[in-house]
Amino acid sequence: MKRIVIDPVTRIEGHSKISLHLDEQGRVQEAYFHVTQFRGFEKFCEGRPFYEMPSLMARICGICPVSHLIASAKACDAILAVRIPETAVKLRKLINLAQIVQSHALSFFYLASPDLLLGMDADPAKRNVFGVIEARPELARDGVRLRQFGQQVIEWLGGKRIHPAWVVAGGVNGKLSPENHARILGAIPEALAIAQRTLDWFKTEIERFREEVRSFANFPTMFMGLVNEHGGLEHYHGKLRFMDANGRVVADTDPCAYAENIAEFVNPWSYLKTTFYKPLGYPDGTYRVGPLARLNLVDLCGTRLADQEWAEFRELGRGAVLSSFHYHYARLIEILFCVERMQALLNDPAILSPHVRAFARQNNDEGIGVSEAPRGTLIHHYKVDDQGLIRDANLIIATGHNNSAMNRGVLQVAKHFVNGNKLQEGMLNRVEAVIRAFDPCLSCSTHAAGRMALAIELQAPDGEVLDSLKR
């Protein structure tokens, strides 16, 4: 048995490695996606006052801190037993949507576009954001502008781009000023235009990736995510929907009853837990979350331009779109939806109301907050003692839901592309690229920081190095 190790997996958020196990003929038999970080947020927040949790949990991530703010604050709302003011809901939605825009922009333009523009087999020295800047500066400029848009909105709302302390238990801690309202509205048209032309460009490129579409985690799984009361696209609050691979709704559930529907377990080769849909057990209950899942789950998006794009997107699969390569496409549609939705929220006069926070003392010993992060469903579940100190915290992170599908996807791609008798860089890039399609946030999902090494070796069982690649 030979082993190929890809360490680190590049152009993703966080630290991981992939190991491929080959038989004597050099065919891939097994593959593992190892998340090598461990952080321990669930443990070291024990004993902290619950109202600190939103700011504490935001520190899980520098890319999607707003997601943790939202889910955490919702859990704290439940501990307070308050219904937050409608304007606070709108403002939380606004910052959540802005974050999804900037996070999806990071994923598409900075991490994935080198493969999508330059090709999976392009020279690794050029196959990066700088290569995109050199080859197609207008695409790179659009990515930078879109990311700036999302981050700037977060700053205008929350006071800073990363870890804003604005979302709190009971609502948000400041109203939206007329000046910032005008600034955000003024920035919408450019963001819409960038989203639309990027979609128009990418749709013409998909045909170049037929093999990748066929092999990138393209298999039946369930899908999970929030939908609103009309079955529409929803990132803040709603029903937690489970759908099968044929596009049939299996269940619309109360997100706070997640423990009845979702189970977790630990794999010995990774710090990232795996989840599955309990009623079907594992592995039949494997499901995916995030942009691809959300666009499968919904009956409509709910905004004009996104609905047009969504209708075209759904033609890719009868019932459900299964290939994880199409996460990239779904991400772009979500950017479009988010910007449209932001515009609608800003056009509602109620968003300027000063009533943005409900105040109360602790009224419950437990709180659950569920929202849609850029990468999928995020669950924060806290138990507190009589003093309001955290006794127990359970976080189920978007990327964790996708762990099983990512592992299977790595195996599928490796079996399709990797010839174990002769390593070629493009083969291994595709193994990484299937992970990139999921846009995992590994720092979020395991809560540590690792160190970067850079070597790929093909070793015989006795340790002799048979072949090697370095980037």
Partner: protein
């Protein structure tokens, strides 16, 4: 000062790595955790960019200033690591303009998990800031 952009970068939770941000805050510049592609646009709009950072490998508190020439990153992803030269090059490629760029680097003593600067860096900080002010005054003439 019109046309001048000061960018100090580093992690304030890693001891002396927070020097760049502290210096930028004192100079009224941009204090950021790391250099990112989004900085290319403001860099391109400046006439002079002053980067400030801490480094290992020299006597703590000793600092140096050098000119930065725009250049593409050699074999790097430009996502997890962006250096001043690559950022200036990105400004030229994306926005058609690369300003004069200087990098002030001070050697730190401690980069562990801690807040605050070491005594050696703290003691040398004002001297470096005075040099930046002098540089700005010379540029204005």
């Amino acid at each position: 000062m019109p046309g001048v952009l000061i960018i100090g970068y580093g992690n304030p939770l890693r001891g002396d790595d927070g020097l760049g941000r502290r210096a930028a805050e004192l100079l009224g510049g941009l204090a950021v955790h790391q250099l990112t592609p989004e900085l290319a646009e403001p860099v391109s709009a400046a006439d002079l960019v002053i980067f400030i950072d801490a480094a290992e490998g020299g006597p703590p508190g000793q600092w140096q200033c050098r000119e930065i020439a725009a250049s593409a990153p050699a074999g790097r992803a430009f996502t997890h690591h962006v250096d001043p030269a690559a950022l200036v090059e990105a400004a030229a490629l994306l926005y058609g303009r690369a300003p004069r760029a200087l990098l002030f680097t001070m050697f730190g003593e401690s980069f562990g998990y801690e807040e605050g600067l070491s005594a050696a860096v703290e003691a040398a900080l004002n001297g470096m800031l005075d040099a930046v002010h002098q540089m700005l005054a010379n540029s204005a003439q």
